[in-house]
Symmetry: C2
Subunit: 393 residues, 2 copies
Amino acid sequence: MINEAMYARGAESSKIREIFTYACERKAQIGADKVFDFSLGNPSIPAPEAVRSSIERSLAECAPEELHGYTPAPGLPAARKAVAASLNRRFGTSYSMGDIFMTVGAAASVSCALHALTSPGDEVIVVSPYFPEYKVWIESCGCTCVEAPAKLYTFRLSVGSIMEAITPRTAAIIVNSPNNPTGSVYSREVLQRLANCLNEVNRSREQPVFLISDEPYRELTYGAEVPWVPDIYKNTVVCYSYSKSLSLPGERVGWVLVPPACFENARAMAAIAGSARALGFVCAPALFQRVVADCVDEPCNVGAYNRNRLLLVNELGEMGYSVVEPEGAFYLWVRALESDAEAFCERAKRFELLPVPSDSFGVPGWVRVGYCVSYDTIVNSLPAWRALMDSYR
Amino acid sequence: MINEAMYARGAESSKIREIFTYACERKAQIGADKVFDFSLGNPSIPAPEAVRSSIERSLAECAPEELHGYTPAPGLPAARKAVAASLNRRFGTSYSMGDIFMTVGAAASVSCALHALTSPGDEVIVVSPYFPEYKVWIESCGCTCVEAPAKLYTFRLSVGSIMEAITPRTAAIIVNSPNNPTGSVYSREVLQRLANCLNEVNRSREQPVFLISDEPYRELTYGAEVPWVPDIYKNTVVCYSYSKSLSLPGERVGWVLVPPACFENARAMAAIAGSARALGFVCAPALFQRVVADCVDEPCNVGAYNRNRLLLVNELGEMGYSVVEPEGAFYLWVRALESDAEAFCERAKRFELLPVPSDSFGVPGWVRVGYCVSYDTIVNSLPAWRALMDSYR
């Protein structure tokens, strides 16, 4: 019998992907330069040259049967050691390769972490607005997705709203900073307050509430500090991906870190390995694990995104749009010009502007503008944004 | 709370992986040439030169942000078209790219197919001995794994035992030919008898029983015909991977085919897309989707495996071992010299021979010898096999 829940997941598809598909079709109709596709988080910055060099070196130096062979399920030791060493250099930690499990990208990281740290019937808290796939993965674990709204208008983390959402069934909280979709970066101070509250809550629980810190945008910031969350709250499992920092979203490679100080870390790590096995992940792609080992400290070219960011924030602001100035990631969160964001996006389509309405992120009335596009796309889109604003006057 | 089921999956690990890990350690102790590791299905034949050329061409011709970018969830059109065209050429079918969903390897193919075609509480039949991960994936769907024994000693498909295992709760049957672990290839005649029986069973059901045909070894045969299963039974979903035919097991790329004639094919395909999404597979690795598009018809160098096969079958047979002559794949199924295969494997270890005991494949008293190793490994292992036999006299 065809599974109804899976059918629904496939048939509904994601709103983001739906708009992306429309953008591709529309570009074919009227020309790629006439359509302003702000839907997907597909980096416009090329992968660094070091990625190509790493692939070429592997092809030259490594026998193909070794290069493309199965890796151990937790990943190539060289990749895991390189990741641990890089974290240790940057955050003064003392992780070892045993604390790192290489994954098939951030989606796999979060999916495996959720399967490992929850049981059916549990609740997992997300901060709304949130990346829509969190809800899909949480529900796939048989858990309930509980939304804790961020602060209105600033979209910073609200410790109060998280505390209100906690119940005895709360297994984990997903935090995502730099944030998709708002670009907000959680400060050390607010994370410390969250940790204090969670430590207080944990006193009356047998098992602590886990923080799942989903950090694919860690390197994409414009000056703000991105604190190392396990230093602030010890029961933090970190999920990472090279999709954004190395511009490798299609290659599917990332990791999960279970820090040694985390509650029952060895059991948690075994459960992550078990989740990967149970879901059908055998190992992270082998060639790109070597790329990670070689390129783990490659700097991310945030300059290009910053140029896009400043242009959009300034120009849209001058036109009269309400925007949340992003401190990280490559999304601009813009107030829709009517209460129904879907209707606003339909009208924006008439001007060939394709942002994503906020409803699937769990809040009404806003849109996400992915500025991981070329600078020219942004420059060329400005008259359309102006015309869209004028159409509401 | 750490999930007990996932913890158990991770802590038990797979027997195959456990022996492989022991082999690595032992090789480090006494030298790689002294240890005869027959545990893993990691091809010893290098990927064809065309794979390297394809990667080099992609690196040279394709902008990195396009090359490594997200692909559509069902895969790059070029890859899906190439797969459909290859199947059409080989099997006289008329599939289109819409019938193909690119996956993160065969494990993802089977896992997604199972999630799509079953609901919790259903039963899925496997033919024992069977690839142990089937049970893990079936149970991850909340289903029961029901074993239908193959015919004793020949290990061919027993239609009778499958029919006995069918109940109103049977959602699907996994068939795997060429077979891991026995090397047996299911004939057209036996598959036709199975199809006739299933068609009969389906008359009294609202929904048909699905066949999930897991075919990573399709190209690895030594003369036997591997019939195209959807031609024989229309409700067949085919799972494939390039791990064996292109020697790319670590790169994780394969596909699921839902043929147009399959029951509710559009809904089934949507459910597969939904399963991939729900489990955390975003897309198959992008660079290797291009490799598939380029290399889909590369011939598999079965000659080398055949040489290994003939040597092992002849020599072990002459020593007095009972073996099942494999018609495909790269495993030899050998009767243990005592009823307890685990004990037999422990004794084999003393001679540095590392086959896999049959218990985790669902039958007692046999071992799997993976001959996807170098010819020299087999030649050098022969005295050890002889000494092992002598130790039982």
